[in-house]
């Protein structure tokens, strides 16, 4: 009995210690975002700021157009997620329910395209964006992310699990494919769609490398890219940098508190794709 208690204690002890280490960078970011210049340059470091003032946020927003970056991030995220969701629903339905020659061959070819790293596509996509005359615009951040093989794969798997008899009885009742898709399939697939939308939204919000390649001017930067540019602008004021980082990270933390289950489920499935 006693050894059980001791081992329980160690389980909690190690898990708590690990959790604190995992959270330390977030704590440090949020706490530093409120510190003054003196407080942040102190040794031994000060764990908590002496007062909670939004001064750093105000100054950061004055030094760089973070409000604009924020809006850009939101616009890009909303556009690319809603378009992707739409194209994904249609494509997943076609691959799951409609019949056309070569359906399965085409789908497995698409799956094999999934292993191609985005890093390999950047060279061409960069020139494509230049040729389309959308270099350094928000379109350059949206258009390449309007369809996704991976999300189509997830949704098709779900559509496949819905029984065929439901489809045929609806068709006999005179329902068109289009109607059946939006009135029956999509409402049933709500949890899967939720996962897709969340994963896609997070990927868009955090996206860094692509904006770095195709966006240069101030008014078209998104948050993560604008933040990295800000490091050179605010080099000597780490507290402003932490305030700006908080703007990028904090909304996601809040989202994660509420939507953890959907996100984790999607990741557990996504990691085992193929």
């Amino acid at each position: 009995m006693d050894t059980r208690k001791i081992s329980r204690f160690f389980v909690y002890f190690f898990l708590t210690l690990g959790a604190l280490i995992m959270l330390l960078p977030f704590f440090w970011m949020f706490s530093s975002a409120f510190k003054t210049t003196q407080e942040i340059n102190r040794f031994p470091p000060q764990w908590l700021p002496s007062r909670l003032s939004l001064d750093n946020f105000k100054r950061a927003f004055e030094m760089a157009p973070f409000a604009r970056y924020f809006m850009n991030s939101v616009i890009v995220m909303v556009c690319s997620v809603s378009i992707t969701t739409f194209t994904t629903i249609l494509a997943a339905f076609a691959f799951s329910r409609l019949r056309f020659p070569g359906r399965n061959v085409i789908f497995s070819l698409l799956l094999s395209l999934m292993m191609i790293p985005f890093e390999m596509l950047i060279i061409t996509n960069y020139t494509t964006v230049v040729n389309l005359k959308i270099y350094d615009t928000l379109y350059a951040l949206i258009l390449p992310f309007t369809s996704s093989i991976f999300y189509t794969y997830i949704l098709k798997n779900f559509f496949d699990s819905i029984s065929d008899s439901l489809y045929w009885s609806a068709r006999i009742d005179g329902s068109s494919n289009w109607r059946f898709l939006w009135k029956v399939m999509v409402p049933m697939a709500r949890p899967s769609l939720m996962t897709i939308i969340l994963l896609n939204g997070l990927a868009s919000w955090n996206s860094f490398m692509w904006p770095m390649y195709v966006v240069v001017s101030k008014e078209n930067r998104t948050l993560p890219w604008g933040l990295q540019v800000f490091t050179t602008e605010a080099g000597s004021y780490p507290e402003l940098l932490m305030a700006a980082s908080t703007v990028v990270v904090f909304p996601v933390v809040i989202l994660f508190l509420f939507a953890r289950k959907y996100i984790v489920r999607g990741v557990a499935r996504g990691g085992l794709k193929g």
């Binding site: 081992s7 690990g18 191609i116 390999m120 060279i123 006999i172 490091t231 989202l255 994660f256």
Partner: protein, 305 residues
């Protein structure tokens, strides 16, 4: 009656419209994939064999292997491959070992398991580049919290980000922290697939904690562990966004930490040699392709069982 007629019409006569219907559903998806995935794949392969390609005139001298020769003989690329392999060989085993233990503990019946999960999974969803800036602050030699905490166990101030030798451990620690949530989640779902009967049987036999962990959990989890290692190897090969915030966008304090993706970016943006960048990207792909094949083989094996 009317309903029936419509159904007959829809199902019976395969009109022109119903024949092209599937393609209409696929069209919006197909445009995006064709322009931004399929075409780039083909183009990057062609590009890598174009010698003397100029991005302005879009002309090239001839087809050949010159780009590959240049890349392979470039000491910078050799450095990039070396650093990338070092990163993979450090981050993947370390994160897997930690994740196995954490996943095992998280799989116990716990109070506040939601709280623990939130803490351990959070780095997965937050921007690497933004959190990287917080790490940069924590790594600060003089005021950083990490050197402060280490001072309690008698470690002198470490120049994490200023010294070439220390920059690799700094990057690796950050990389492990960053990849842990994903690794834990996959291992946790692997653990939850283990039949509880095995544990009951072991307990009946009188086995205890550590013995159960080593003799039952780890062997039964082995397929998942291998799979996680491969998936993580693939993602670590692409290391870039972890590096960027730590050193103000430079690869290391003395440009000593070039990785393959950094090399691609350098060839593309700084020297504007698209052919070189394409060849380097294809070499990266070959590594990824090899590991993906192993992954598919393992998954096939796992399905058979």
């Amino acid at each position: 009656m009317k309903k029936k007629q419509t159904a007959d019409r829809e199902l019976g006569n395969r009109s022109f419209l119903s024949k092209i219907e599937p393609y209409l559903y696929l069209l919006p998806f197909a445009i995006g994939i064709a322009v931004f995935t399929l075409y780039p794949v083909i183009n990057v392969v062609l590009m890598s064999f174009k010698e003397g390609y100029s991005h302005l005139s879009r002309n090239f001298d001839q087809w050949g292997l010159a780009n590959y020769q240049t890349v392979i003989n470039d000491p910078k690329f050799a450095q990039a491959i070396g650093n990338t392999l070092k990163y993979v060989l450090l981050v993947v085993p370390i994160s897997t070992c930690i994740a196995v233990v954490v996943a095992y503990l998280l799989n116990q019946k716990l109070r506040c398991s939601a709280l623990f999960q939130t803490a351990y999974f959070l780095p997965m969803v937050t921007s690497i580049t933004a959190v990287g800036l917080a790490w940069k602050l924590m790594y600060n030699k003089n005021f950083g919290i990490i050197n402060y905490l280490l001072s309690f166990i008698g470690v002198d101030k470490i120049p994490w980000l200023e010294n070439a030798a220390w920059s690799i451990p700094a990057l690796v620690i950050f990389g492990v922290w960053n990849i842990l949530p994903f690794t834990i989640i996959l291992l946790l779902s692997g653990l939850q697939n283990i039949d509880p009967q095995y544990y009951t049987a072991a307990r009946v036999d009188g086995s205890k904690g550590l013995r159960i962990f080593l003799r039952i959990t780890v062997p039964l989890l082995a397929p998942t562990i291998f799979l996680v290692c491969i998936v993580n190897t693939i993602s670590c090969f692409k290391v870039f966004s972890e590096l960027y915030p730590l050193f103000n966008g430079k690869p290391g304090p003395f440009n000593n930490l070039y990785t393959v993706v950094y090399y691609i970016r350098y060839a593309m943006m700084e020297s504007r040699k698209y052919g070189i960048a394409a060849a380097a990207a294809l070499i990266l792909f070959l590594f990824i392709f090899a590991f993906t094949m192993v992954q598919l083989l393992l998954q096939k094996k796992a399905k058979k069982r």
